[in-house]
Amino acid sequence: MRHDFDSKPLFVERMKLLLGNEFENYIEYVSKPDLKSIRANTLKISAEELKKTLEEKGWNIKQPFKKNPEIMIVDLELLPGELGRSLEHILGYYYVQEIASMLPVIALNPKPGENVLDLCASPGSKTTQIAMMMKNQGLIIANDVKLDRIKILASNLERCGVMNQIITRCDGINLCEKFSRMNISFDKILLDAPCSGEGTIRSTPRTLQSWNINKIYSLSNLQKKLLRSALKILKIGGEIVYSTCTHAPEENEEVIDSVLRELKNVKTEKIVLPVKCNPGLISWKENKYSKELKKSCRIYPHLSNTEGFFIAKLRKMK
């Protein structure tokens, strides 16, 4: 067992409540080593060329999704950090990214020419994926609040050749207020919100050690404020993807439900993903959520051998 679940009985109790008879399966997968996944950076190289180059090095490459050839699994025993030290990584031909973390941008489906805001962008995995789908055309505002995180973001965007981006440094809520005052709005927004990270315990067991229910409540408040702020600067007809790498309903369905109750011009959208997922919850403990939440996606490690994520897509109506 890679995790000390005994030290976090409340976490276990909550996951049992969330998963019911899937719980044992979840524990089995979360205790396995994570898959080594990468995403070809098609701004610099095609998926086919990258696959060929890596196979010539002796790496065994699998492409699990026909419609997303850029998503690859490196099926090989590698030393820790080896994926990030290869020549192809240094040259920006791929990004080391967990498959579940690629899904919010697939749900957002940014297109060349659109104006896109990535509100909490560091370290840049999703920003580089957005730029790739936009073929470096249109505009990406990639924001984060902390300078040290922005340095990593800038370095990753540069390595991947992202030319259509502006990196801003601002508190997310404040940034939205400022754009709103300047009458600047966006076709699409990604809000990959800061979260308690329950979905990442497979690759990062220390997340479990720092797990704390009060942190979940406090993050939930922040996430609601961020989502409300972001919706103000979304164009009419525009779409926002809200995602977290956690399973806690307070940080997921409760956040979406709060804006659906408050804003009558916001609707949920169906999401099509290349992996299996469970529908969002419509109740948690004593709380009842909008039935629209069924359209959101709960990604658990045992469903498609990934990490955990939550994704919801909203559209702003007139």
């Binding site: 020549l87 040259l91 470096n136 249109g138 505009l139 981006q165 005052r181 300047m182």
Partner: protein
């Protein structure tokens, strides 16, 4: 209004861009720059393809800290006044680069180059050369009598021998 801690972004005007393009053409055969050129300070230039007017960019900059826009693609060498393309600059303009290319012939030399070592080779040139290995363009080196000097930044260097 907030106080910027660094110098504002400078958008290269048409005249400056023409001069830059002339140099890029003379040095490497480049005929077109796919975006606008931004700079902050004297030497480093950023290539930006974002769909936003200069006016709107300036408006945002007055209110919000802009850390970066576009990618660092080239710099002007302070001694010679010539252009040095970065790794990304050479990769993003790959299809247009027609001259002053040095093809690294062995995997061993390529790895040395990517480790940040100079190549002890006499090319007969005293120019900035685009370094190429197979299909990979990896920035610029400076050829002198006996060697090609390396400009691979520390954070982009290979630290281990590859398979």
């Amino acid at each position: 209004m907030i106080q910027q801690k660094f110098t504002p972004l400078n958008v290269m005007n048409e005249k400056e861009k023409k001069e830059l393009l002339k140099k890029l053409g003379e040095q490497f055969g480049i005929k077109e720059i796919p975006g606008i050129i931004l700079s902050r300070g004297k030497e480093r230039m950023f290539l930006f393809s974002g769909n936003i007017s200069e006016e709107k960019l300036k408006k945002i900059e007055k209110e919000i800290v802009i850390e970066r826009a576009g990618i660092y693609f080239a710099r002007i060498d302070e001694h010679t006044g010539k252009i040095r393309l970065s790794i990304e600059g050479s990769q993003m303009l790959k299809d247009q680069i027609k001259k002053n290319i040095y093809e690294i012939s062995t995997k061993d030399d390529f790895e040395k180059w990517m480790q940040g070592q100079d190549l002890q080779i006499s090319t007969g040139k005293r120019e900035f050369l685009i370094m190429k290995y197979k299909d990979n363009l990896v920035g610029t080196g400076k050829a002198s009598e006996q060697k090609i000097s390396n400009y691979i930044p520390k954070n982009r260097r290979l630290k281990h021998k590859q398979n």
